[in-house]
């Protein structure tokens, strides 16, 4: 690794000042699971590494019944996967956090880092999108918020300006009778990168059982994580029966623009979009069913039919 200096500021203001003064030559460090290999392999350079894990705003994890969930950008995936609130109310987030890398990686990696790295295959991003998370970004010109959905603009590229830092994610309390699920396909279970992934969040009308809204986001099948609006629109107002979920999964393919690479051909990825989308929808629906009618504790049940979040093809 080329030499760099290191700072571990304990306040957000100090971190922003350090990042600004370095004029593009500084990199924030959370878990380092992307940054450290990038630095050691020469894929990124840094004159200064700013460790953000001592900044309280980036380490907060709190839930308020009216305001919802706040996830500091540097909170580890392991902490999120263990959190009862995340597991119960935002289960797709817990799914992704228990899939990323390996157990060892999950004890370092963060959602802030996952988003900032902006890999098309990032497992952490589609679950945030389907829960309509906003991200708080601090920079030399102050603090701003934007939807997570708008952050990734291309492979490895984000809408963050130079010197800006992801501080935290904010997710509103889920509507009543809502659940979610994230599923990906990988040839092996650990330390692999999604060939295709899908997150789904569904909200049903508790009196009729019909779908009020469905939000679907796909990973690894486009230059950025993408929504699947045609599939979402199809499900609105319908019962979440297997045939409707299947039909929606087929519509989701229209939102994919996959490439062929070492992991899979574009055609195979399109096929996988239907598979993972159907499984994510099934997982969310089955969690709702396991929970009864109130949508308050779907996390414990998890997806049925052996859908552990790892595609069954990996067994």
């Amino acid at each position: 690794m080329d030499p760099f200096d290191y700072a571990a500021p304990s306040s957000l203001d100090e971190a922003i000042r350090l990042l600004a003064e370095a004029d593009g030559a500084a990199r924030p460090l959370a878990g380092g699971t992307d940054l450290i290999p990038q630095l050691s392999e020469g894929r990124r350079r840094a004159r200064l590494v700013v460790d953000v894990k001592n900044i309280p705003e980036l380490r907060q994890l709190r839930f308020h019944p009216a305001e919802g969930l706040t996830i500091g950008a540097a909170v580890t995936c392991a902490e999120l996967a263990e959190s009862p609130v995340v597991r119960q109310l935002y289960p797709a987030v817990a799914d992704a956090c228990s899939l990323i890398g390996s157990v060892l990686i999950q004890h370092r990696a963060s959602l802030g880092g996952n988003l900032a790295n902006a890999a098309p295959s990032a497992d952490g991003v589609p679950p945030l999108i389907v829960h309509r998370a906003a991200v708080r970004i601090a920079g030399p010109d102050g603090v701003r918020e934007m939807p997570v959905e708008d952050v990734c603009v291309g492979p490895g590229m984000t809408a963050l300006a130079p010197g800006e830092l992801i501080v935290a994610f904010r997710i509103s309390p889920p509507p009543e009778a809502t659940s979610s699920c994230y599923v990906r396909f990988t040839p092996r279970q650990e330390m692999d990168i999604a060939v295709a992934g899908a997150a789904a969040a569904v909200t049903v009308d508790p009196s009729t059982g019909l779908c009020r809204t469905a939000v679907i986001a796909l990973s690894a099948v486009a230059p950025t994580p993408v929504r699947a609006p045609e599939a979402e629109a199809y499900l609105a107002g319908k019962p979440l029966t297997d045939p409707h979920l299947e039909a929606a999964a087929r519509l989701a393919v229209r939102s994919a623009q996959p490439i062929s690479d070492v992991r899979a051909s574009a055609d195979y990825r399109r096929h996988l979009v239907t598979v993972v989308t159907r499984r994510a929808l099934l997982g969310a629906r089955n969690r709702l069913a396991a929970d009864g009618r109130h949508g308050t504790s779907p996390g414990a049940a998890g997806p049925k039919e052996g859908l552990s979040g790892v595609a069954e093809g990996g067994r």
Binding site: E79, E82, L104
Partner: protein, 169 residues
């Protein structure tokens, strides 16, 4: 040229001070600076788990931790596992023949300790899932898993009411 940094940490229960460059990984400083060569370097990029240590009780790949990040933290390496006699995990690995070349063993032992600290009675599938990020290229995994589950039983019989580590949410 970056400045060298003085770091104080608790390593295997004892306060330690060392000087390192910010670019040095914890793995590098453990092995080359402190002579704690029990922790192994496999892939060097977080894929194999051979360099697993506990950082404040959490299992992490030390090749993806900067040594400067260890300031004020508590680190456990394989050298700190045995207390007078072999740790039950080490004893079980020996008895089950859960190693051949041994390069992956320290990482497995530390990762397994983290599992048993969190969950004293893991199901076989839980143990397999937890350790799936640790690679072994010699023995296959069955003996390792048998050793971990056996050690879990031995640890429970030593302390019939083990406390689960608290992870506040």
């Amino acid at each position: 040229m970056s400045r060298k940094v003085a770091v104080e940490a608790v390593i295997n229960g004892a306060p330690q001070a060392f000087v390192c460059e910010p670019r040095q990984t914890l793995l590098e400083v453990l092995r080359e600076g402190l002579g704690l060569t029990g922790t192994k370097e496999g892939c060097g990029n977080g894929n194999c788990g051979a360099c697993c240590v506990l950082l404040d009780g959490r299992p992490v790949p030390s090749c993806l931790v900067l040594a400067v990040e260890a300031a004020g933290r508590d680190i456990l390496t394989v050298e700190g596992l045995a207390e007078g006699e072999l740790h039950p995990l080490q004893q079980a690995f020996l008895e089950h023949g859960a190693l051949q070349c041994g390069i992956c063993t320290p990482g497995f032992l530390i990762a397994a300790k983290a599992l048993l600290d969190k969950n004293p009675q893991p199901a076989e599938q839980e143990a397999r899932a937890w350790l799936a990020g640790n690679l072994c290229r010699c023995t296959g995994y069955d003996k390792i898993i048998r050793a971990v589950l056996d050690a879990a039983g031995r640890l429970r019989s030593v302390d019939p009411n083990p406390k689960e580590e608290a992870h506040p949410a």
